[in-house]
């Protein structure tokens, strides 16, 4: 019964989405107020129906209703309750339902936080979101209905994929989807503004907080995914340039460009059409990400088995969204004029450069990800692009971004003088250079060019972020007063840039200094790796709720201190899958990492040992960026009603922030 209820709720949600996607848009173009007023109630009702549908599927999982095919395939009565709930989005159908529900959540959020929006603008935003929702809901109902029954019902389920039976993996998809789907709000705002011809600073100010929230979730989702891959996959790496990771990274890069470009549009009224284009790209890349993951065209850790009709459906949806929005863009964009004047050396142009670099980086990833697929589709051979490609392309593109991010905040809007900026960083630049060389050479006794460059860049970015904050503070009487006078977005920016520096330190040091050994070890053996001696004491057998495990014990010693690490090799009974559970001793300056390989003869095991310096800093950088995003969103400016915000003209706002 519950499953049928969920199915009906889903159909009702589709009807609501149809209402929401048609009448408000027609009303806005014809100026019929009563049609536009459909948007809010339809959006809210759609969300409630989606929530009911999602709740129904969750209930099926909690009750172990194996007559529902999706539940039978992804759950098991021995699975702990917590993972039974997480299993709702453990596979294709449920995660698409989660996608739709989150879109409903964003829609409802727009209806609630929209008091300052004009009637026709709100109608258009909700209308566009409704149309997106119609596409996704049709997709779910026609190709991937999670409520389909299975007759006869199996006595027990096929269990959740063991890789997903883990805390990081239960939180990662909802977080990532919040980001992906959140970009649909920025997209809807952009299309609504194009349709209504209201592409102005006010539009950018409305769009900014939504984009920032989506970006923050996306950052969180990617950080979590990377952390999960590190401890769960047992390879000791944190980023694999896997096509699906790329699929989440491309929209992130474009969204990062978008939040910078929106700042220019809000403060200076420039870059309007470019900003709109970025919003379209960012959401299109999110949809492309969904397509890449769900179509099964990729060999990847994430490539669930899937059928081609689904891929085709998403591809058509993608074509409609991208084609449709670009059509609106070509029809409407020529009418948009940038009023702002700015000279060559200005914050505007620096941010443009930042945008170009970020979009180029995204495009180079797109090339490496899609080229093999296109070649395959044209029957020109099967190829894949190795991870070194991404590394080789990415580093030279990112280095100038890090350099620019340092001085960017020091530039003034409209016109700035290179001489003054150079004067301001006259100590900082050589200091960063020296710091890079000195840190690399002294602390680690190595003349490693990449490490020096990376550390120098990180020092430069962190120091210049703090320097520009300091200069802002000095404009006031006392520093305490200065601290209070800054808007939260200044702190947000500083935190996010510091995050990039922290991330860079982690990425560079863990890449250059990691020590790794693949060895054969029998009980009693010991191996020394960068000063730590690992003693293999032996293994024992453990029983988990739905798995049995071989647990090894290692004693790690250094300088008289010792600790124990207990990696496991799990055998999940239902899917007969082997899983490696690495044992990690985390630390601020180094991680110790032990993972079991395979059992060999004579009680010996093949073992992976790693010492990974500063690897935590990678995710710490992500946390800084998340904090930065949240701080920026908390800026009161975004919550001012429209009249007050208009009363504070662009110049005053610019003066406050620069």
């Amino acid at each position: 019964m519950i499953a049928e209820f969920g199915h009906i709720a889903l159909v009702m949600a589709l009807l609501m989405a149809l209402l929401q996607g048609t009448f408000p848009l027609m009303g806005a173009s014809q100026g019929v107020s009563i049609w536009m007023s459909v948007a809010k109630p339809a959006g809210r009702a759609q969300f409630l129906f989606l929530l009911a549908s999602f709740g129904a599927l969750t209930a099926c999982f909690v009750n172990n209703d194996f007559s529902v095919e999706y539940v039978a395939r992804n759950s098991n009565s021995a699975l702990p309750l917590y993972y039974r709930i997480a299993a709702v989005w453990g596979s294709h159908e449920g995660s698409m339902l989660l996608w739709a529900t989150i879109l409903g959540l964003w829609t409802a959020a727009v209806t609630v936080f929209s008091r300052s929006l004009s009637e026709d603008f709100l109608a258009r935003v909700l209308g566009v979101m409704g149309l997106v929702s119609v596409g996704i809901l049709l997709f779910i109902l026609y190709t991937s209905n999670p409520f389909e029954r299975l007759a006869p019902a199996p006595p027990d389920g096929n269990d959740l994929n063991p890789l997903l039976q883990d805390f990081g993996m239960t939180v990662h998809p909802p977080m990532l989807y919040m980001g992906y789907v959140g970009l649909s709000v920025a997209f809807a705002f952009a299309i609504a503004a194009l349709l209504g011809g209201s592409l102005d600073s006010a539009w950018a100010r409305w769009s900014r907080p939504w984009t920032l929230v989506a970006w923050t979730f996306l950052t969180g989702g990617i950080t979590l995914g990377s952390w999960w891959a590190y401890y769960e996959l047992g390879w000791g790496g944190w980023w694999f340039w896997d096509p699906v990771e790329n699929a989440s990274f491309m929209p992130w890069l474009v969204a990062t460009a978008l939040i910078h470009s929106l700042a220019v549009t809000e403060k200076r009224g420039a870059f309007k059409t470019w900003t709109v284009l970025l919003a379209i790209f960012a959401f299109s890349l999110s949809l492309l990400g969904t397509f890449l993951v769900r179509s099964g065209v990729l060999t990847s850790v994430h490539a669930f088995a899937s059928d081609p009709t689904r891929g085709l459906f998403i591809l058509i949806l993608l074509a409609i969204v991208v084609g449709g929005s670009l059509l609106v863009y070509t029809l409407k964009a020529p009418g948009v004029r940038d009023v702002a004047r700015y000279s060559l050396v200005s914050k505007e142009n620096l941010l443009l450069l930042n945008n170009i670099l970020l979009v180029t980086a995204s495009a180079s990833i797109l090339l490496g990800t899609l080229y093999p697929l296109i070649l395959d589709a044209l029957k020109l051979g099967k190829i894949s692009v190795g991870p070194p490609y991404f590394g080789a392309v990415f580093a030279p593109l990112m280095a100038p971004i890090f350099l620019l991010a340092g001085i960017g905040p020091m530039f003034a809007w409209r016109e700035s003088s290179i001489g003054r900026i150079l004067h301001r960083v006259r100590y900082l630049f050589p200091a960063s250079f020296a710091a890079g060389v000195a840190l690399a050479a002294l602390a680690w006794n190595e003349a490693d060019f990449k490490m020096m460059a990376g550390l120098g860049c990180a020092f430069w970015l962190a120091a210049s972020a703090l320097l520009s904050l300091w200069t802002r503070l000095r404009l006031r009487e006392g520093w305490l007063e200065g601290l209070r006078a800054q808007s939260p977005s200044v702190y947000g920016m500083t935190a996010a840039h510091l995050g990039a520096a922290v991330f860079l330190v982690g990425a560079v040091l863990s890449d250059r200094l990691s020590q790794e050994k693949l060895v054969r070890m029998a009980p009693g053996d010991s191996v020394t790796l960068s000063g730590y001696s690992f003693h293999f004491l032996g293994t024992e057998t453990l029983q988990g709720p739905n798995f049995s495990a071989q647990q090894a014990t290692f004693r790690v010693e250094r300088d008289g201190k010792s600790l124990e690490l207990k990696p496991q090799k799990r055998n999940y009974k239902v899917q007969r899958n082997m899983m490696t559970e690495a044992a990690i001793d985390p630390g601020l300056t180094r991680d110790l990492y032990v993972a079991l390989g395979e059992p060999l003869d004579k009680n010996a095991w093949s073992v992976r040992l790693y010492v990974k310096p500063f690897i935590r800093w990678i995710w710490a950088g992500g946390l800084f960026m998340i904090a930065g995003g949240l701080l920026s969103v908390s800026d009161r400016r975004y919550r001012l009603p429209l009249r007050e915000a208009r009363a504070v003209p662009g110049q005053a706002a610019a003066a406050r922030a620069s």
């Binding site: 059928d307 060559l344 180029t360 490496g368 190829i383 692009v385 190795g386 070194p388 054969r520």
Partner: protein, 153 residues
């Protein structure tokens, strides 16, 4: 004297140059890191390049996995039905590696005709098959009976 117009042109020229350099780096790196996929039959008939890395995929032949004592070196064969290729790999095999399983290996063929793998991939779950492997098996009529059923799910 630099007029604003000239300045702007210079700026544009610099940007174009920057993008061109980036594109050059990207395409060079791209060329260097392209890995082609070959089936065991293609390798056996000598179609695969010598001295250049590529990817090979197929099912691990039953009873072919042999370990060299006291080391991490493993030898096994991958097959797509008509032919099988010997693979040698030193390191830790993925969790889902087992006989009869579809895998992909990255490496190159040595003079003796053995595929020296630098990486072995077997992913996700016991039924999952890399799309490339599934297709080549299908062509040779070697696809396991339960595979199509699995795809439907």
């Amino acid at each position: 004297m630099m007029t604003p117009r000239r300045k702007r042109m210079l700026w544009v020229a610099l940007m174009v140059a920057g993008v061109a350099i980036a594109a050059f780096f990207a395409l060079t790196a791209f060329q260097k890191n392209l890995l082609y996929f070959y089936t065991p039959s293609q390798v056996a008939s000598g179609e695969a390049p010598k001295g250049y890395p590529f990817r090979i995929g197929g099912l691990v032949v039953k009873d072919s996995v042999k370990r060299e004592p006291d080391s991490l070196t493993v030898r096994f064969e991958v097959s797509d039905g008509p032919s099988a290729v010997a693979v040698r790999y030193t390191g830790i095999l993925p969790d889902l590696f087992r006989e009869g399983q579809g895998i992909i290996a990255v490496g190159q063929v040595d003079d003796a005709g053995t595929f020296q793998a630098s990486e072995v991939l077997a992913k996700h779950d016991e039924n999952y098959m890399p799309p490339e492997v599934a297709e080549s098996l299908k062509k040779n009529g070697q696809l396991p009976a339960d595979y199509s059923e699995y795809q439907k799910k």
